[in-house]
C-alpha cells in the first residue's frame, strides 16, 4: 500500500515539475549526464522487480461444487512469483553449484539393481532434461545462451527502431537523421548510453530467463532454494528498507529541521537537544537494543502476531522506524542550517514586511527552497541503507531470518565459509546484486547532486 502511495506521489511530483520550468531545469541537466541516465535505467529495473514483487494476492483454490464461496490459498504470492514460477517451485535437496546437474554433497543412492553407492545424486530440476549431463551440458548451455542472445538482439533492434522513429517525429527530422543524432551523441539526451544500458539489461534478462528455466543459474542454497530467485526476491527487501525508512524519517527531519532554523530561540534549543541526544547513541547499538526489545516484546505477546509472515513484516517495519529514528538527525541538521540561512534572505524579510504568517512563509518560501537538499540527501542515504541492512542482518538485528534479504544470504553463506570446497555462489550472488544496486544508486546520487546543488553550478 505504502509503495503505491509513494508511486502516486512521485507521479504527482513529475506532473508538477513538467509545468514549472525552473523545477524542470535540474532534471534536464540530470537527463543530459550519461552516467546519470545509465544508473537511472539500472535503478528502474531494480524498482520494477521490487514493485512486481510487491503486488500481492492469494491464488484462489479450485471451487468446490457445493460451495459458492471461493477459498483462497493461505500462501501469499506476488506477481513476480508468478512470473518466476518454476524458479520458486523447483526445490532441490540442498546445496548445488551454479549450472550444476549434481548435488553438492554425496548421498547414498539406490541403484536400480538394489545396490547402494555414495555419489553426488542428480538434481531433480537442474539440467534434468539432459540425458548424459557430463557430455551434453556445455553444448546445451551454449545453445541456450545463443538463443537468449538472439532474442535479446531482436528486442534491441526493435527498440532502437522505435526510438529512432519517435525521435524523428519529435525533432521533426527524417529517421536517418535521427539515427545519426543518436549514433554520434549529438542530441541533448545521451541516447547511445541509454540504448547500450537497456540493451545490456535486455541481454541479461533474456539469458537469465532461458538459462534459469533449465538450470540453477546461481546454484541452490542449503535447503535447495534457487539462489538466483532468492537474490531477486531480496531486491524488494532492500528497496523497502530504503523507501520505508525515508518515509519514516522525512516528516520528522523536515518539520523539526525547518522549525528549529526558522523560529530559533527555545524551539531551536529543544530540537537541537533532541537530535544531539539521539545521535549521540551509536546507531548500531541503538538499533540492536531496540530490535532486541522488540523481540522480547513479540515473544511475550505471541498472541498478537499469529503468522510468521506477520512477524517478519512487523519486524521489517520496526527496523525501518528505528533506522529512521537514527538517520533523521543528519538531514534535520542540514535543514536547520539551510532554514537559518533562508530566514535571513531578503525575500523572506519582504514577506514578513507584508505581514505574511509564519506557517505560510514556511510552506511557500522555505519548503520549496530546501527541497533540493531533501532530494539530494534522500538519494545519498538510500545506498547507505541498503548496505546497512546487510550489516544489521549479519549482527542479527536486521530483518527477520525468514525473510529473503542479501544480509541473510551473506549470513547463511558465512557459516559455510570453512567448507572445502567453498560454497561461494550465495556470497557471489548477494555481492553482485548489492554492488550493482548500490553502485548505480551512488552514481545516480552523484548526478542528482551535481544537477540540484546550486553551489556546483
Amino acid at each position: 500500500m505504502l509503495l503505491f502511495l509513494l508511486l502516486a506521489g512521485v507521479a504527482f511530483y513529475a506532473w508538477r515539475v513538467r509545468r514549472r520550468e525552473h523545477l524542470l531545469q535540474p532534471w534536464r541537466r540530470l537527463m543530459r549526464s550519461r552516467s546519470g541516465m545509465a544508473s537511472a535505467v539500472v535503478l528502474l529495473a531494480f524498482v520494477a522487480v521490487g514493485v512486481l514483487d510487491s503486488l500481492h494476492f492469494r491464488l484462489p483454490l479450485e471451487r468446490q461444487a457445493n460451495n459458492a464461496e471461493t477459498h483462497y490459498s493461505p500462501e501469499v504470492l506476488s506477481v513476480f512469483d508468478l512470473l518466476a514460477g518454476p524458479l520458486r517451485k523447483q526445490l532441490e535437496k540442498t546445496y548445488s553449484a551454479p549450472f550444476a546437474v549434481h548435488l553438492f554433497t554425496k548421498e547414498t543412492i539406490e541403484l536400480p539393481g538394489g545396490k547402494q553407492t555414495r555419489d553426488f545424486p542428480r538434481l531433480k530440476y537442474g539440467g534434468a532434461h539432459l540425458r548424459d549431463p557430463v557430455a551434453d551440458r556445455a553444448a546445451d548451455i551454449a545453445v541456450t545462451a545463443a538463443t537468449g542472445a538472439l532474442y535479446a538482439l531482436v528486442l534491441c533492434a526493435v527498440m532502437t527502431a522505435l526510438l529512432v522513429l519517435w525521435l524523428a517525429r519529435r525533432r521533426g527530422v527524417s529517421p536517418g537523421a535521427a539515427w545519426m543524432l543518436i549514433r554520434h551523441g549529438h542530441d541533448e539526451i545521451p541516447w547511445r548510453t541509454l540504448l547500450a544500458t537497456i540493451g545490456l539489461l535486455i541481454l541479461f534478462v533474456c539469458l537469465a530467463a532461458l538459462l534459469s528455466a533449465k538450470y540453477h543459474l546461481l546454484g541452490t542454497d542449503k535447503v535447495g532454494q534457487d539462489v538466483f530467485y532468492l537474490a531477486l526476491k531480496s531486491i524488494r527487501t532492500g528497496l523497502m528498507i530504503g523507501t520505508l525508512t525515508t518515509l519514516v524519517m522525512l516528516p520528522f527531519a523536515l518539520l523539526l529541521g525547518i522549525m528549529a532554523g526558522y523560529f530559533r530561540g527555545w524551539v531551536d534549543d529543544v530540537i537541537q537537544y533532541t537530535y544531539t541526544t539521539l545521535s549521540s547513541i551509536p546507531g548500531v547499538l541503538l538499533i540492536a537494543a531496540a530490535v532486541l526489545i522488540l523481540q522480547v516484546y513479540m515473544d511475550s505477546n505471541q498472541e498478537m502476531f499469529d503468522t510468521v509472515a506477520a512477524r517478519a513484516d512487523i519486524r521489517l517495519l520496526f527496523l525501518c522506524i528505528i533506522l529512521g529514528v537514527t538517520s533523521w538527525t543528519g538531514l534535520c541538521r542540514l535543514l536547520r542550517g539551510e532554514a537559518l540561512k533562508l530566514r535571513e534572505m531578503e525575500f523572506i524579510q519582504a514577506a514578513t514586511a507584508f505581514g505574511v504568517g509564519h506557517f505560510r512563509i514556511i510552506a511557500r518560501h522555505i519548503l520549496p527552497n530546501v527541497m533540493h537538499i531533501v532530494l539530494i540527501s534522500i538519494v545519498l542515504d538510500f545506498s547507505g541503507l541498503v548496505l546497512a541492512e546487510a550489516v544489521l542482518s549479519y549482527v542479527g538485528v536486521g530483518v527477520d531470518p525468514s525473510m529473503q534479504s542479501w544480509g541473510n544470504m551473506i549470513n547463511g553463506a558465512r557459516l559455510e565459509m570453512a567448507r572445502e570446497p567453498m560454497v561461494w555462489w550465495s556470497l557471489l550472488a548477494a555481492f553482485v546484486f548489492m554492488f550493482v544496486l548500490v553502485l548505480s544508486a551512488n552514481l545516480f546520487s552523484d548526478r542528482v547532486r551535481d544537477a540540484f546543488d546550486p553551489r556546483v553550478r
Partner: protein, 325 residues
C-alpha cells in the same frame, strides 16, 4: 577559551541524562523485567518462583522509579532506576545478566579493540588524505576521473565483502596471516595486520572521495588565486595553502570518532575473533544480555560526547579565527 570548553562540557550533561533516560525507558519500561526473565529461563513452563528468583538475583525486583516501601532517602535510591541507570554516571555498570563484572570486562577488552581501531584510524586518515590530494592535484584529468570512479565503486561494496574477500584471499589462499584469533604482546601483530589492512581499504572509497570534495572546494577560493599570483608552483599552493585550510574540516571531522575507537568495530572483530569490545557487544546481542547492551549503549554515548567536546577543542587549536577570538 577555557570558559568555552567548560561550557561545552556543561552542555554535555543534559545530553547524557537524556541518553540515560532513553535507555532506561527502552530497557525497563517497554519490557518489564518479568519478560526478560522469561526469555532467559525459556518461554514455556516457567514458574513464577523461578522468575522471581531470577529477578532477585539481578536486582530487578525493585520498583522502577519510586520505592514506597523503603525508608527515607531509600525511597528514591532503592529502585531499579537509581541502581541500574544513575549508577552509570559513575561508570558503575554492575553485573551482566550472566553475573559477570561488566566494568572489568570492558577494561580488559578495550585494548584489543584499540589495537585494531587506532591503526585503522591513523593509517586510514593518512591514506585517504594522500589519495584525495592526488586527485585534487590532477583535477579535471583522467587520473582524477579514474580515482573518483574507483572510489565510487569501492564505496558501493559492503564492508562484509571486504572482510570475507580479504580473509579468503590473504589467509586461505596465500596463507600469509592467520584467519582469526588474537594473542597478547608482540604475537598480536600477526593477527592485527589483516584486520587493519582491510579496515583501511574498506574506508578509502568514502573517505578519499569526501576529502577530495573538501580539497576542491578549497582550491576554488580566492586566496588560492592570490597564492598563484605570487608565482608559487601548483604543488606548493596545494601543500602550503590548500592543505592547511582543508585540514580544518578534515581533522575536526575525524576527531569525533577518536574516543569511539575504544569501542572497536562490531563486524570485523567478530569475523577475526578478536576479543575486543565489538565482539563483546555482538555476543551480548546474540545472547540477549541486556545489562551488557545497556552498558555499551551508555558507554558509546559518553564516548561520542567526549568526541564532540574534543572536536570543539580541536577547532580552537587548529583555527586561529576561533583560537584568538
Amino acid at each position: 577559551m577555557i570558559q568555552y570548553i567548560i561550557r561545552r562540557i556543561l552542555y554535555a550533561i543534559p545530553i547524557l541524562i537524556g541518553v540515560n533516560l532513553i535507555t532506561f525507558a527502552l530497557f525497563f519500561v517497554v519490557n518489564t523485567p518479568d519478560n526478560m526473565a522469561r526469555i532467559h529461563l525459556g518461554m514455556k513452563h516457567v514458574t513464577p518462583e523461578a522468575v522471581a528468583k531470577w529477578k532477585h538475583e539481578r536486582g530487578y525486583d525493585k520498583p522502577l522509579l519510586w520505592n514506597g516501601a523503603a525508608q527515607g532517602e531509600k525511597k528514591a535510591t532503592d529502585t531499579i532506576f537509581f541502581e541500574k541507570s544513575v549508577g552509570m554516571f559513575a561508570f558503575d555498570f554492575g553485573r551482566s545478566d550472566e553475573g559477570r563484572d561488566i566494568a572489568y570486562d570492558i577494561r580488559t577488552r578495550m585494548w584489543p579493540s584499540l589495537a585494531i581501531a587506532l591503526p585503522v584510524f591513523v593509517i586510514g586518515l593518512a591514506v585517504n588524505v594522500t589519495f584525495a590530494m592526488l586527485m585534487a592535484f590532477f583535477r579535471a584529468t583522467y587520473v582524477d576521473l579514474a580515482g573518483v570512479v574507483l572510489c565510487v565503486a569501492m564505496m558501493s561494496i559492503s564492508g562484509l565483502f571486504y572482510i570475507i574477500g580479504g580473509q579468503y584471499l590473504v589467509s586461505k589462499l596465500l596463507h600469509l596471516t592467520p584467519i582469526s584469533g588474537f594473542d597478547g604482546g608482540f604475537n598480536a601483530l600477526k593477527f592485527i595486520v589483516l584486520p587493519v589492512v582491510i579496515g583501511v581499504v574498506a574506508g578509502i572509497g568514502t573517505g578519499a572521495r569526501w576529502y577530495r570534495t573538501i580539497f576542491l572546494e578549497e582550491t576554488s577560493r580566492d586566496y588560492v588565486r592570490t597564492a598563484r599570483a605570487k608565482g608559487l608552483s601548483e604543488l606548493s599552493v596545494l601543500f602550503g595553502h590548500v592543505l592547511k585550510n582543508a585540514m580544518i574540516p578534515i581533522l575536526t571531522g575525524a576527531v569525533v570518532v577518536i574516543p569511539l575507537l575504544f569501542m572497536g568495530s562490531l563486524i570485523s572483530e567478530s569475523f577475526f575473533g578478536i576479543p575486543g569490545l565489538g565482539s563483546y557487544t555482538i555476543d551480548a546481542i546474540n545472547a540477549q544480555d541486556f545489562a551488557i547492551v545497556r552498558a555499551m549503549v551508555f558507554l558509546g554515548s559518553v564516548l561520542y560526547i567526549v568526541g564532540l567536546i574534543l572536536t570543539d577543542i580541536s577547532y580552537t587549536l587548529v583555527d586561529p579565527r576561533i583560537r584568538l577570538e
